[in-house]
């Protein structure tokens, strides 16, 4: 395998998008990295976890993304070069910490990686598009298209952060994060500095009114300066025949599809490729659209660029015909053939796709692994209750597969930790029996406040904490009670301390004991917890 730490400049090695981000951070001299695992961002943390010691950097798997970002903020305030990585839903969790961080700004340059998953290849809950967060938070956002740009943009993001003292976000998607290509690597120095110093500066780090409003003004001034950078930077670039009356505006992965299709259709149309999503280079776009008759905006998920271009076109070129979401889907990822049909329509080109794909292919759902302890939990519950008479709550983890055919034991599913919070609401609203599942890592992530709420506000769901001693779904990252952790924090002690009286830890291999506990606890007037403790079969191997 390629050694990501090799110091051999101007060499090309094949890297995954996420590995290229790691390499870009190393070449930038990163000191401090925190993350909570989530696909498609997981390999950033996994790679740092493996190399942190050799690279002389600090790395942690934090308890959740909010804590990860807060740790990163502390490191940045102390002057360290910091990287925080997460999937899109993690950004929701840490948004509360992110907005004030953009007000205070950084001391140590800070880059935040957020990975979206169009088409929900590895995500439940929603098909989230994080790009509009730029306008909400006022954080600069860069969007790489391929692993080379993952490396280059990470380095550029650190430079922008250093220059403008603001955190910078890099937004990837599955097809960027999990894309491989030969990447030209650069030189770097191993962990230059790993001790920072927090220097007191109330004006800078305390977001108390009335100072906070001054900070907001300063932030807007900063953003306008970064917009000037955005107007000039080479990562917002125009390619192709500039005399053509038909143009394309695109970014991220759709840019690669546009390039591919233009080559295939033998078209030489001008492309404005945006590497910076926020703050947008308004002048550059106005110049690009000024003389066009038609413009096609190729972007994935909800229209963001398109709305912005429509706004700019009103003054600059009111007759401009603007195409985008009238030809492209709002739901699901783009594919080259979808982009091809939109370009062909706008350019009046005939498209020949030879395909006879109307062939039935059976649907194959993901399954629990052979020997997975969750099979045992499912069996024991089936023996204890009639599943039709019980409401089953789901949460985020491998056990989401309880919702697939053959098990069918999941009546609601939302975000991390929500199974318990929603269970409380259902128990307060109804008199139905309810069993809810939550994994060990998810419990630590966001389940504990919800458990306290069920005790404090008195409802009686049966909560089954599936403790397989790892963060299984994202690739077996450690958590506070995971196997191999030197001083694990016992889940039992946390549950007890939250005030839960009905508590049992059972290895689900003991089927009768498990079934009996389910029956007993469902009859209780107070909240009950069963900790189903059996190690993940993949780790046991």
């Amino acid at each position: 395998m390629e050694n990501i730490l090799q110091n051999n400049s101007n060499k090309k090695i094949i890297l995954l998008g996420n590995e290229a981000i790691v390499r870009g951070a190393l070449e930038s001299g990163v000191n401090f990295i925190s993350t909570y695992p989530g696909t498609p961002a997981s390999e950033i943390g996994n790679t740092f976890y493996k190399i942190a010691k050799d690279a002389n950097v600090y790395f942690e798997f934090s308890t959740n993304e909010k804590v990860a970002l807060e740790a990163g903020i502390g490191a940045s305030f102390s002057g360290l070069k910091t990287l925080v990585a997460m999937k899109n839903f993690g950004l929701n969790v840490c948004l509360d910490a992110l907005i004030p961080f953009v007000y205070t700004g950084t001391k140590g340059p800070t880059v935040i990686i957020v990975a979206d998953d169009p088409s929900c290849h590895s995500s439940a809950q929603s098909e989230e598009n994080t790009r509009p967060v730029g306008n909400l938070v006022h954080i600069p956002i860069l969007e790489p298209s391929d692993p080379q740009e993952c490396l280059d943009f990470t380095k550029l993001a650190f430079q922008i952060s250093e220059k403008f003292k603001i955190p910078v976000m890099i937004r990837t998607t599955t097809r960027v994060a999990h894309q491989r290509m030969p990447v030209k690597i650069g030189e770097y120095e191993l962990g230059i500095k790993n001790k920072g110093k927090f220097i007191k500066d109330v004006k800078r780090w305390v977001t108390l009114p009335p100072r906070v409003l001054e900070m907001k003004k300063e932030l807007f001034e900063k953003i306008e300066k970064i917009r000037e950078f955005s107007e000039k930077t080479k990562i917002n670039k125009i390619e192709g025949d500039k005399k053509s009356k038909i143009g394309i505006i695109t970014s991220a992965i759709p840019y690669l599809y546009v390039k591919e299709i233009l080559k295939e259709l033998n078209l030489n149309l001008p492309i404005l490729k945006l590497g910076v999503f926020y703050p947008s280079p308004n002048k550059k776009v106005k110049n690009f659209i000024r003389k066009l008759k038609k413009v096609l905006i190729v972007e994935e998920l909800e229209a963001s660029l398109e709305q912005w271009v429509r706004g700019l076109a009103k003054d600059t070129n009111p007759k401009l015909q603007i195409f985008g979401k009238n030809l492209l889907p709002v739901v699901g990822e783009l594919r080259p053939e979808i982009v091809a049909s939109s370009i062909a329509k706008v350019a009046n080109k005939k498209l020949e796709i030879e395909t006879k794909s109307k062939i039935f292919a059976p649907k194959r759902f993901p399954q629990f692994c052979l020997g997975c302890p969750y099979w045992l939990v499912f069996n024991a519950i089936k023996k204890a209750v009639n599943p039709k008479e019980v409401v089953f709550g789901g949460d985020i983890g491998c056990y989401m597969l309880f919702g697939n055919p053959a098990v069918n034991m999941q009546d609601y599913l939302s975000c991390m930790g929500s199974s318990i919070g929603i269970a409380h609401g259902i128990k307060k609203a109804t008199s139905q029996k309810l069993i809810t599942f939550i994994g060990d890592s998810t419990f630590f992530h966001a389940g504990i406040p919800a458990l306290i709420n069920t005790v404090f506000n008195k409802s009686n769901p049966l909560i089954i904490i599936l403790n397989n001693e790892t963060t299984a779904m994202t690739g077996h990252q450690p958590h506070p009670a995971a196997v191999g952790v030197a001083e694990p924090i016992e889940i039992e002690k946390i549950v007890e301390a939250c005030g839960v009286k009905n508590l049992k830890t059972i290895d689900p291999v003991n089927q009768e004991e498990f079934s009996q506990a389910v029956k007993d606890f469902l009859a209780k007037d107070e909240v009950s917890v069963i900790i189903a403790k059996r190690i993940c079969i993949q780790i046991k191997k």
Partner: protein
């Protein structure tokens, strides 16, 4: 190295079920194409989908490659590690596409498995270029494990010129990508596919 750029573009799909080693095969082919000086792009999926679900990966190499994904109907080779998954791969096929299929079925719970005949009859509507190879059986018998079927098949594809790469590039790529402790078995799969 870095001289032989004959192929404009070559598109490979590998389809199968989670856990059949698609990502390792993708890495080997990427590396082999890179050794021959081609531009390379690939796309894969990680996470929950891998737990026994359908998994397809895209590998593209040639003179200048932009998209990491193969377009509908544009695959040159569809390598199926599982027979029923071949039908999902057919989305990427045209009349000239080659199918190389592992004679191996992973049942779908609560569904009637499609027979080999049903699957092949469907594929024949698209192309005549279909080869079914009992790779899992051969690897089980000769090497003691069917896990090597994928490596056996990509090697076979190179030897049979279904992939325009040189066997020596593939061999070098296997040595680069496969961890030391599994290398010997993988090299045996390479030799076995040479026939």
């Amino acid at each position: 190295m870095h001289s032989n750029k004959k192929i404009v573009q070559f598109n490979i799909m590998i389809v199968g079920t989670g856990g059949q080693g698609q990502i390792t095969l993708l890495q080997i082919l990427n590396q082999a194409a890179f050794i021959e000086g081609y531009d390379v792009k690939s796309s894969e999926l990680h996470g929950l989908a891998q737990r026994g679900g359908s998994v397809e990966v895209h590998i593209r190499f040639g003179k200048e490659i932009f998209s990491p994904m193969v377009s509908q109907g544009k695959a040159d080779l569809i390598l199926a590690l599982e027979m029923q998954e071949t039908l999902k791969g057919s989305y990427y096929a045209n009349s000239k596409t080659n199918f190389l299929i592992n004679k191996y079925i992973v049942p779908i719970p609560a569904a009637k498995p499609l027979s080999e005949k049903e699957i092949l009859d469907n594929l024949k509507k698209i192309t005549k270029n279909i080869a079914v190879v009992p790779a899992a059986e051969i690897c089980k018998e000769k090497l003691g494990t069917e896990v090597l079927a994928g490596v056996y098949l990509i090697c076979l594809a190179v030897f049979k010129k279904l992939i325009p790469l040189k066997p020596e590039s593939l061999l070098a790529a296997i040595k680069k990508i496969i961890p030391e402790k599994f290398l010997e078995l993988n090299l045996k799969a390479f030799d076995l596919s040479r026939g």
